[in-house]
């Protein structure tokens, strides 16, 4: 454990708690009946106390403990929270806060902390109703455990015949036998204490052992005024009488009742090797508490639920080694259909008694514990209150890098979760456990949902309204219109449509380009418009809206539109295609030619939009971000350009295929369907292959060849079925022959970088759940 790390965590937590607790206190000061605030304040002190207990800062612990006790009393309505008390608690929080600052600077508490803590703790504790006598209520963290573990070596402290006598004494008197372990303070003689007299004065003392705490020093170095002794013994109860005897030294004594049945009458004898493995003290404690749990189960008609957990707990414990025989016995006893609490209790009792003693039960505590009512806090209430505290719609400014980090982390999570289906398959295929496989799949479902929700949540944080881009447009349109002597009215709709900020960034340039094009080429001058019977003022409409998981931006104008005839002419003139093919194009296909690299429809290159970039740059940019561009136009009536972008570009859905034992990812939006084609059904057209899919010829491309993988000779069996992935690339269908289809999955695509960035044909890489790297193909580049 790196302590520094833990301390740093604690400092952060403490600051959060201090803030919440202080504001809760102020809230309470205004409205003392606010139960939610009271709970929050209580929990603040409580959690601080728990966390600081991990460190050795007693001054800190004592002060927050005092605060917690005050709030406990307030919660149980034993104490009224006055403004004065609130002040004291706030003072305590201020002090704690300065300690936290000091801890952050130096890693230690300031030198005066003990004194300060003592004063402030006292100032708080005087407010408590009925302060417990002797202040024994606040056990210092270093005080010895109040629970004594009575085990075999411990009992071997006493001679067998003495133990027997003690037992018969207990049986005869009907009193409880109590074991005590008394370790007097070293300086106890200075307080007039005489431990030996105290112990031998115990009524009903049965056995006594006095041993040095450490081995005796040389007689010459012994300090006779310091107590080096430890007293252990068995005494006949009742326990409160014993407690009374030790009332001045409660922190130096541990006690535990020794349940009847221990010793079993026959002494194991000094040094006699036990026949079974002795229990470690912790094991004994655990077993002892299982007995208690079983007792509760018995009270409640042997509730099976409790028994199950006891079975598991004890089985686990027995599996820790050295308990093979007991483990078998336990399995026998509990596998019986009617594993009942009584039989199990009996077995546990046997075991606990076997090596000489019974389970240590915590000492019966006579002190009155103030009624704690954790159940009173109604679920959700604290939350509601803390929400009430905050003004609605508070905006948090977050550094974008932090959001990006979060995004990246969630990306990792999405990738990690993908390992679960692999694991499920392994569980089934390799370990043959369907149940496990199913459990893992169920788990995957849960994590998948959470990851998606989380992604959604963080996406929402990254969402920006498209108005970020739209806001630039009015100025642009106005300037353009004036320079071209056109009259244009710009209408913007859906500016509050939100999209991922990356998308908004991608959107900016293409959008401006489209609008420039529209104004430059589409919109006529006012006189031309009037001749055409249109109002002199043209309308350019920019509308944003969400469609499924896409954000769509439409730019439409009521200009002259695109004339397909002119496009054909120009395409032929530019040598893009011959006249015959141009004539065969549909009007829409002709219009689509404007996306062709270098194509421009304006008779002359204007100084605005014709800077060597045409619509092709718009398409390239948008498609790179996973979007699409389309144009529709009616000659004389106007043009509409539609930019469609994914709401976010974080996650790509791909389908996994395998070629030559290597997985490749194919972006899902290319995929039309998966089919199996008999090799005999493959048509050979010269070098090329094709097959018939619903009456159309689909060319076949072997992915291994495209990827230049080593040629693998496959048996030329006409009945062999090829796995064919039908994809649509650049508008036409294509069959990709792969070895196997695998599942679809969400991935975080990482672009190839470094020297790989120039490799064509790959969209990027992603990490698979089983640790392999997935290459994601860019079909457009590849084919």
């Amino acid at each position: 454990m790196k302590n520094a790390q833990l301390l740093a965590r604690f400092i952060g937590e403490a600051r959060d708690l201090l803030q919440g607790t202080s504001s809760g206190l102020l809230q309470l000061d205004r409205g003392p009946g606010d139960e939610a605030a009271l709970n929050e304040v209580f929990r603040g002190f409580h959690t601080l106390k728990g966390s600081v207990g991990l460190f050795d800062f007693p001054a800190f612990t004592k002060l927050v403990h005092a605060g917690e006790d005050i709030l406990t009393a307030v919660r149980s309505q034993d104490l009224v929270l006055t403004s004065d008390l609130v002040d004291r608690l706030l003072d305590a929080l201020d002090q704690v806060s300065s300690w936290v600052d000091h801890l952050e600077r130096s890693g230690e508490m300031p030198g005066d902390a003990d004194g300060v803590s003592r004063e402030m703790t006292a100032a708080l504790r005087v407010c408590l109703p009925d302060p417990p006598a002797g202040g024994g209520d606040a056990p210092a963290p270093a005080s010895r455990s109040s629970v004594l573990c009575v085990d075999a070596p411990w009992l071997a402290t006493f001679a067998p015949e003495e133990r027997e006598a003690a037992l018969s004494g207990a049986t005869a008197s009907g009193s409880a036998l109590i074991a005590f372990d008394y370790l007097p303070a070293e300086d106890c003689f200075f307080f007039g204490e005489d431990p030996f007299a105290l112990v031998t004065g115990l009524p009903g003392l049965q056995c006594l052992s006095v041993t040095p705490v450490a081995s005796w020093p040389a007689i010459g170095t012994l300090d006779p005024y310091r107590c080096h002794l430890r007293f252990r013994g068995l005494v006949l109860g009742p326990s409160d009488a014993v407690e009374t005897a030790f009332r001045y030294v409660p922190d130096q004594v541990a006690m535990a009742p020794v349940p009847p049945g221990f010793l079993g009458g026959e002494a194991t004898g000094e040094g006699a090797a036990p026949t079974v493995e002795p229990w470690a003290p912790m094991a004994r404690r655990i077993l002892g508490q299982q007995r208690e749990v079983l007792a509760f189960a018995l009270e409640e008609d042997g509730r099976a639920a409790r028994i199950e957990s006891v079975i598991r707990t004890v089985s686990g414990l027995l599996a820790t080694g050295g308990h093979a025989a007991r483990s078998r016995l336990w399995a026998e006893r509990t596998s019986a259909a009617s594993a009942d609490a009584a039989a199990m209790t009996e077995l546990l009792d046997d075991w606990l008694a076997a090596d000489g003693a019974a389970a240590a039960a915590p000492p019966a505590s006579g002190e009155a514990v103030p009624e704690r009512a954790p159940d009173r806090s109604r679920p959700g209430q604290a939350d509601g209150a803390s929400q009430d505290l905050k003004p609605a719609n508070r905006v948090l400014k977050v550094d974008q890098a932090k959001v990006d980090t979060l995004m990246a982390l969630i990306g990792e999570l999405v990738v990690s979760k993908n390992s679960l289906p692999f694991l499920a398959r392994r569980a089934e295929d390799i370990y043959g456990s369907r149940d496990m496989s199913r459990e893992i799949k169920d788990l995957y479902g849960v994590i998948d949902r959470l990851a998606q929700e989380m992604q959604g949540a963080i996406m929402a944080v990254r969402m920006l309204p498209v108005s970020e881009v739209f806001d630039r447009l009015p100025r642009l349109v106005r300037d353009l219109a004036r320079r071209l002597d056109k009259r244009i009215s710009l209408r913007i709709e859906g500016g509050d449509t939100a999209a991922d900020k990356n998308m908004i960034e991608v959107l900016g340039d293409p959008l401006i380009h489209v609008i420039r094009n529209a104004i430059d080429h589409g919109i006529e001058t006012p006189d031309l418009r009037e001749q055409a019977g249109k109002p002199p003022e043209a309308v350019v409409r920019v509308a944003a809206f969400q469609e499924n998981d896409q954000v769509v931006i439409e730019v439409s104008d009521d200009g002259r539109g695109i004339d397909p005839a002119k496009i054909r002419e120009k395409a032929v003139a530019k040598g893009i295609l011959d006249a015959e093919r141009a004539a065969r194009l549909t009007d829409q296909d002709a219009i689509n030619l404007i996306f062709y690299p270098g194509f421009s429809t304006a008779p002359e290159v204007s100084d605005l939009s014709g800077r060597g970039v045409g619509m092709d740059i718009v398409v390239t940019t948008v498609e790179a971000a996973g979007g699409t561009v389309s144009v529709t136009s009616e000659t004389g009536l106007g043009t509409r350009v539609r930019l469609s972008l994914p709401l976010s570009m974080a996650v790509t859905r791909v389908m996994l295929v395998e070629v030559g034992d290597t997985p490749y990812g194919i972006p899902m939006d290319h995929i039309v369907e998966t089919v199996r084609v008999r090799r005999g059904a493959v048509r050979h057209i010269k070098q090329a292959e094709a097959f018939v899919l619903r009456q159309s010829i689909v060319p076949l491309v072997r992915l291994d060849r495209v990827l230049d993988l080593p040629d693998r000779r496959v048996a030329d069996d006409p009945d062999h079925e090829e796995a064919v992935l039908v994809v649509r690339v650049a508008g036409s269908l294509l069959g990709l022959v792969v070895d196997h289809f695998r599942e679809g999955m969400d991935i975080i695509l990482k672009p190839l970088d470094g020297i790989l960035s120039s490799v064509r044909g790959f969209a990027g890489t992603a990490l698979l759940g089983d640790g392999r790297v997935l290459l994601v193909l860019n079909l457009k580049e590849l084919l």
Binding site: M1, R43, P278, S309, P379, A382
Partner: protein, 142 residues
């Protein structure tokens, strides 16, 4: 004071890999880090939840060998979470240890009654925590 020889801290090598999963439910972020670091050092896989509701949901979502549950937590306290767990047939067998700052016998009884199998008082030393985890979840046959 014990001469018990079976130290559970040194399990045989082949069993180390089979260490279990532990769900830690505590609203204190420092406590969770502490549990996580101690338990992971002992070879356990640790999952965290910050309150009883989350703890219950996580317990439902996947299998654990042991749950370590704080008592005083927001939304749903440890007692309520344990009661919920113990009424759920899928979860009733999972051993649970409560670790709370409350040291009284009464609190211990209440925790055991609610559904805990073992009760420890904060602060729990790393050695003690490791020992309990190994004993209860170290090699439980799953």
């Amino acid at each position: 004071m014990s001469n018990a020889s079976s130290s559970p801290r040194h399990p045989q090598g082949d069993e180390v890999s089979g260490r279990g999963r532990i769900l830690v439910v505590d609203d204190g972020i420092t406590m969770r880090l502490y549990y996580r670091s101690v338990l992971e050092a002992a070879g356990f896989e640790v999952e965290e939840a910050t309150n009883g509701v989350e703890g219950y949901e996580k317990a439902l979502a996947s299998a654990f060998d042991l749950m370590i549950v704080d008592i005083n937590m927001p939304k749903m306290d440890g007692y309520a979470m344990l009661r919920a767990i113990r009424t759920d047939p899928a979860l009733c067998a999972v051993p649970a240890v409560t670790i709370s700052t409350e040291a009284s016998e009464r609190d211990a009884q209440q925790a055991l009654r609610a559904g805990a199998n073992f009760y420890l008082v904060k602060p729990v030393g790393s050695k003690e925590l490791t020992e309990v985890a190994l004993m209860v979840a170290g090699r439980s046959p799953r």
